[in-house]
């Protein structure tokens, strides 16, 4: 088992390196230079201060050849030093330390809710496939899948969190202004109250995707031969489903866990922007609009690392759950 994990981790390393190369390449091969921002957007304003520009370039190490720049950047990244944010004038790693937990919390809560809803609905839809529940839930989830997130977010704010219609939920932020003065439980309640709308937006697309996967996996297994064997032994139908079908069906769903999380990270950007939640997504958004290159590269790298870590966890979980995976098998 440990050899398997070590193998997997070793295979991760080239992928991680590759991510850093891709991120670095994008930033360096793009037209325009970082320092030209100081000369107006797009460098239109010619300040005529070429020595200032070249001094700044030297400061940021931009005058060295490109592979040296990459090596230097990589070395700093490995020590978790992402440089300074041009916009916020703080260390990037500090910013990330503040913002990452927020995004993670949002996504993990959404993740749990998605699984809690999709598993039973998917199983039920598969068991009753072809009948009303299956077709109705399919149709509902297809519609949900097609709803654009920004539209839903904005409509929710407009209708439920605004002055024009209902005002049930707060339109922005993670906690109210007076939250620090509250004790633990009311503060938690306040936090939850703020989370309702954003989590709603994050979860509904996940429902559609995951329920469909669950249903497909369960349906696949319901037709398997071992199910007939189980029935031939005299097991009741619920026993067949929970003791036999379920354990086999969740195996492919574990890999899906790995793909769901990064998809939600991407969706976070939009939701955090709409609801003004101070997480990684909003950080990335602000960084892009203000061309804060250090932050952009840091966020992209971290998103990639998280993703790869998630894949690794999924691989390990997969090996634990499925006895057919032998630990000395090929890649």
């Amino acid at each position: 088992m440990t050899t398997y994990i070590i193998r997997r981790v070793l295979l991760m390393i080239p992928t991680l390196l590759g991510i850093t190369i891709v991120v670095f390449a994008i930033s360096r091969f793009a037209p325009g230079e970082p320092v030209s921002f100081t000369g107006g957007i797009g460098g239109q304003i010619d300040t005529g201060q070429t020595d200032v520009t070249s001094a700044r370039m030297k400061l940021y190490g931009l005058d060295k050849p490109i592979h040296i720049q990459y090596a230097q950047w990589l070395w700093r990244v490995m020590r978790l030093d992402f440089g300074d944010s041009i916009k916020h004038h703080r260390k990037v790693s500090e910013l990330i330390k503040e913002r990452l937990p927020v995004t993670l919390m949002l996504n993990v809560v959404a993740f749990l809710i998605i699984y809690a809803v999709s598993l039973p609905v998917g199983i039920l839809a598969a068991v009753k496939h072809g009948r009303f529940f299956d077709r109705a839930s399919s149709a509902v989830f297809l519609m949900l899948w097609s709803l654009p997130v920004m539209w839903v977010g904005q409509m929710l704010i407009g209708y439920f969190a605004g002055p024009t219609f209902k005002n049930w939920f707060p339109p922005a932020g993670l906690s109210s202004n007076y939250a620090e003065q509250l004790s633990f439980l009311p503060r938690l309640a306040d936090r939850l109250w703020h989370l309702v709308l954003p989590v709603l937006c994050l979860t509904y697309t996940g429902f559609a995707y995951l329920t469909k996967q669950v249903r497909a996996s369960v349906l696949n297994n319901l037709q398997a031969d071992y199910v007939i064997t189980a029935r031939a032994k005299g097991l009741s139908e619920p026993a067949v489903i929970f003791k036999h079908v379920f354990r086999n069906s969740i195996i492919p769903l574990i890999t899906i866990m790995a793909t769901l999380l990064p998809a939600m990270l991407g969706g976070s950007v939009i939701i955090e922007r709409i609801f003004s939640i101070p997480g990684m997504g909003l950080l990335a958004f602000e960084a892009i609009t203000s061309r804060d290159y250090n932050v952009i590269m840091a966020v992209a790298t971290i998103a990639g690392i998280l993703n790869v870590a998630g894949l690794l966890l999924a691989d390990i979980a997969y090996a634990v759950v499925d006895p057919r995976i032998s630990f000395v098998s090929a890649i």
Binding site: G130, A224, D225, Y226, I228, T229, A230, R231, A232, K233, G234, L235, S236, K243, H244, R247, N248, I251, V321, D322, P323, R324
Partner: protein, 331 residues
């Protein structure tokens, strides 16, 4: 129950499935009886309906395919077709058990083999987990697996095909059933293993005193192990006789054709005999006798083309469904 008493009696079984292309009459007017301690073989080509009969006895036909069943299956003074699902579950795996063609897919890949056997034991006999496990190991020993304690802790994919089928047999024999249905038990196995498995079934039959319903297309297997043989063609039984009489003097042209087409070592021949034509598709059964397009007699006779012969007893214990079989038309 005395030896030679009738254990299971199928009377006028009709099974049909309605599909969008029409009604598929899978089983028509099938009647036979299985005696205690005897092996009854149901022989026929793929698609003739023999597996459907086996599944109907176990009431394991897939649900919701627009199926219509009529007739009676009498077992222990009860009509199995009229039992409730709960009552049927007490019989399945307990008094009537079944083994299938593909042992690899018929075993649940994520559960240990010993647990799968113990599951049946715990379900039908009031034993706790420890006792059931001990019983499972014991029955594995009985089916000829060396090191049964070790094997019981293995997963199906770690066993060879032959061992997997022994596990299936162990599972089926664990509750000492009155009837074991074997649906093509050796088709997926190597030739040498086939003999071992069949000998095992034979030995278990004598030890437990169970009857076996052997569903197969392999006439060689039938000649060795069966007591009574029923030949099926296109959803009907066309000939039924004790084994010796059937092989010595086949009455139905289809049976004759099957026996003639078997390659023989003691007869030198330049070409193998074949039955001309192909099996008709269930949606397009010919009128009259279903075999008539391929029968040398049937093609010339109007009666064969228009009226379907029913299964009649021509001698004591011999049944044929052919207008031109000797003794068919008693005046």
């Amino acid at each position: 129950m005395k030896q030679d008493e009738i254990l299971l009696s199928v009377q006028k079984l009709y099974v049909s499935f309605s599909t969008e292309d029409g009604d598929i009459k899978a089983v028509q007017d099938v009647s036979f009886s299985i005696r205690k301690g005897r092996t009854f073989a149901l022989v026929g080509e793929s698609g003739c309906g023999k597996t459907t009969i086996a599944l109907s006895i176990m009431r394991l036909l897939p649900a919701g395919q627009g199926k219509t069943i009529s007739g009676e299956i009498i077992f222990e003074n009860q009509d199995l077709l009229k039992l409730s699902e709960k009552q049927m579950r007490r019989i399945r795996g307990n008094k009537i058990t079944m083994i299938f063609q593909e042992p690899t897919t018929s075993l649940n890949p994520v559960h240990k083999v010993g647990n799968q056997i113990a599951e049946a034991i715990r379900l039908h006999q009031n034993k706790n987990a420890k006792q059931a496990w001990a019983d499972a190991v014991e029955i594995l020993r009985k089916v000829g697996i060396a090191e049964p304690e070790h094997t019981a802790r293995a997963y199906p994919h770690q066993l060879s095909g032959g061992m997997q089928q022994r596990v299936m047999i162990a599972m089926a024999a664990s509750c000492k059933p009155a009837l074991l249905i074997a649906d093509e038990p050796t088709t997926a196995l190597d030739a040498t293993i086939q003999v071992q498995i069949l000998n095992l079934l034979d030995r278990l039959q004598k030890e437990i005193g169970m009857s076996i319903l052997l569903v197969t297309h392999d006439l060689g297997m039938v000649s060795e192990y069966a007591d009574v043989v029923a030949v099926m063609y296109a959803s009907r039984i066309v000939e039924k006789a004790p084994k010796g009489q059937l092989f010595a003097e086949p009455c139905h042209p289809y049976t004759r054709g099957l026996l003639q087409s078997l390659p023989r070592l003691d007869v030198s021949a330049k070409r193998l005999e074949v039955i001309p034509g192909t099996v008709p598709e269930p949606l397009y059964f010919p009128a009259g006798c279903k075999f008539h397009p391929r029968c040398p007699t049937g093609q010339k006779n109007k009666r064969c083309r228009t009226v379907e012969p029913e299964l009649r007893e021509v001698q004591s214990g011999r049944y044929v469904a052919c207008w031109y079989a000797p003794g068919y038309e008693k005046r």
